[in-house]
């Protein structure tokens, strides 16, 4: 793999499993959401998690974010426990729903994490102005979330996740609720933003072209129990250098095909060996 030997990986998942208790009384039982997950995400690397519903991709992201704890195994974020990484604010996070606070202006929403962590007003305003420029919403600083379209709200949420300049971004289907055209534009924006910030990204999606367009590597998962069934290296160059022309390139289609075949259960080794070289 392309991991630089010097730096600690952004995310290191080792032998992680997660079971949930379901039902009560006689119908009680456990559901295995994740089973024996091994994954390493290098610093600055863009990794997508893809798979059908119930494959545990969102669960895995929640474990990395310390929103839930693994039943077995170990998760390290920049060499620390997931809990310590959360406390140290090593990651920024964005969900499918933008999750903006309706009573705060756009700028105040972006400044929320800074305000919570005691950053002064001037520094906050400077940072939110930078981020608004980055996501192309400088004219909307004083608007309120209900005055923005879904795509704009999601851009604000991404700006908020970048507020504290994290080295790692966790994104759970952030474009899932957007229409196809907005979605492609947002993907282009995200590619540019990642190029500028150099952050590592773990990106959950169920769109194959989206995963391929954005990622250095696509992790393909299968459900019941949630497992990694293949990892596809996308040989399209650095994430930050990609643009819309790439969507027409033959290498793009080759990777899409490789991911699709991995999703449909053809052994992973055969795919990466044949299709992407």
């Amino acid at each position: 793999m392309t991991t630089e030997p010097l730096a600690k990986p952004a995310v290191l998942v080792e032998g992680v499993g997660k079971t949930f208790d379901v039902g009560r009384g006689r119908s009680a039982g456990t559901v295995v959401a994740l089973d024996d997950i091994q994954l390493s995400v290098a610093t600055g690397e863009f990794v997508s998690l893809i798979g059908p519903s119930g494959c545990g991709k969102s669960t895995l992201l929640r474990l990395i974010a310390d929103l839930d704890q693994p039943s077995v195994g170990d998760i390290r974020v920049f060499g620390k426990t997931a809990r310590q990484a959360r406390i140290d604010q090593d990651y920024g996070i964005a969900f499918q729903q933008a999750g903006l606070l309706p009573w705060r202006s756009v700028a105040a929403n972006i400044e929320l994490p800074l305000e919570l962590h005691g950053i002064g007003r001037e520094a906050r305003q400077k940072r939110s102005a930078e981020l608004l420029a980055l996501v192309g919403l400088s004219d909307f600083a004083d608007r309120f979330p209900d005055q923005l379209s879904g795509g704009m709200q999601q851009r604000v949420a991404i700006a908020r996740s970048l507020a504290e300049s994290p080295e790692l971004l966790l994104m759970d289907e952030p474009f899932g609720a957007l229409d196809e055209m907005t979605r492609e534009r947002m993907q282009g924006e995200l590619v540019r933003i990642c190029g500028e910030t150099g952050a590592a990204v773990v990106f959950v999606t169920h769109s194959i072209p989206e995963a391929v367009f954005l990622s250095d590597r696509v992790v393909v998962m299968s459900p019941r129990p949630g497992r990694i069934v293949g990892i596809v290296d996308v040989a399209l160059g650095r994430t930050g250098d990609r643009d819309d022309d790439l969507r027409e390139a033959s290498t793009f289609f080759a990777s899409v095909k490789a991911v699709r075949e991995a999703l449909h259960g053809i052994p992973a080794a055969a795919i990466t060996g044949v299709e992407t070289r």
Binding site: A65, D66, L67, R86, I87, Q89, Y91, I93, F95, Q97, G99, L101, P102, W103, L112, P113, E115, L116, H117, F144, D146
Partner: protein
């Protein structure tokens, strides 16, 4: 969302029309209704229309401009009513504030500790089934034994306490719903910022609770006014509109306009307190974005 000017003017007009309609129905029934009232099977379903039972609206308002009693130096009825309304409003306001604070603290405790919610909520609901009339003399009786150093428990404090007893209920229920209203996604977001309960309360739960809190405060204001008036009667505290209603009703068989005066006083109190909560709502307008109805 904020109402457009046209919509606001329309609703104001409808409000005026509603009051006018009520006055019209009153006078119309008085004009055409039978003097003995409408009796169905021995039960009077509509009142007698005599001047004593249903005085003309003009009589009611004209009476306000006369002195309270015929002795010289007696104040005008309207000024006596305004004074009494002010007195009652003051006690109701104290009761409202105490009720809002207690209700909100209960909601906070219930939000913070799940077990407290299971333990407290049934009692809070049960507390409202105790009849007010039964409670009032009890509170006054216990109050008379209370001393704070030199200061003694006053009857008006008992009245305010009973008002707060009614007022705390909608606040505790509304505030609890409001504090628990944020989406799981918002709560998790605060968790990822690794901030504790207190900061989550200040930045998320409290602002989110306001759309639920405002109707509760309005209900609490109405309850506090009703509680004050009833408790004034029950405890026998003079000076407010509650006692005035009893006095005027018994003393004025030949003076049909007079018993209506304290009722107008009570209406004024209701309008002032509802208006106060409405102003509060305007001040908190930014926390009500996306609220479905006003």
């Amino acid at each position: 969302m904020r109402a457009r000017p046209g919509v606001r003017a329309r609703s104001a007009l409808l409000g005026v029309a509603g009051v006018a309609l009520l006055a019209l129905v009153w006078e119309l029934y008085k004009a055409v209704g039978p003097a003995t009232g409408v009796v169905v099977g021995g039960v009077t379903v509509l009142p007698r229309t005599s001047d004593l039972a249903m005085p003309h609206l003009v009589t009611m308002f004209a009476r306000l401009g006369d002195p309270v009693i015929s002795t010289p130096g007696s104040p005008m009825l309207w000024s006596a009513v305004v004074g009494a309304a002010g007195f009652t409003l003051g006690i109701a306001a104290v009761g409202w504030i105490v009720g809002v604070v207690v209700g909100f603290l209960l909601a906070l405790v219930m939000q913070r500790f799940r077990t407290a919610e299971s333990a407290l909520l049934p009692w809070i609901v049960l507390s409202q089934t105790v009849p007010l009339i039964a409670l009032a003399p009890l509170v006054a009786g216990i109050g008379s034994q209370v001393r704070f150093g030199e200061a003694r428990w006053q009857d008006w404090m008992s009245v305010a306490l009973i008002a707060s007893y009614l007022a705390f209920f909608p606040v505790s229920i509304g505030a609890l719903r409001g504090l628990e209203s944020p989406d799981a996604a918002h709560v998790e977001l605060m968790h990822t910022y690794s901030v504790g309960w207190w900061k989550t309360l200040i930045h998320l739960r409290l602002p989110a609770s306001i759309p639920y809190l405002l109707p509760a405060l309005r209900l609490a204001a109405a309850s506090a006014v009703v509680g004050t008036v009833v408790a004034e009667v029950s405890i026998g505290l003079s000076g407010g509109v509650g006692r005035m209603m009893v006095e005027y009703a018994s003393a004025s068989s030949g003076n049909p306009g007079k018993p209506w005066a304290p009722i107008f006083g009570a209406i004024i109190i209701g309008l002032v307190s509802a208006g106060f909560v409405a102003v509060l709502g305007l001040a908190l307008a930014r926390y009500r974005r996306g609220e479905v109805n006003a």
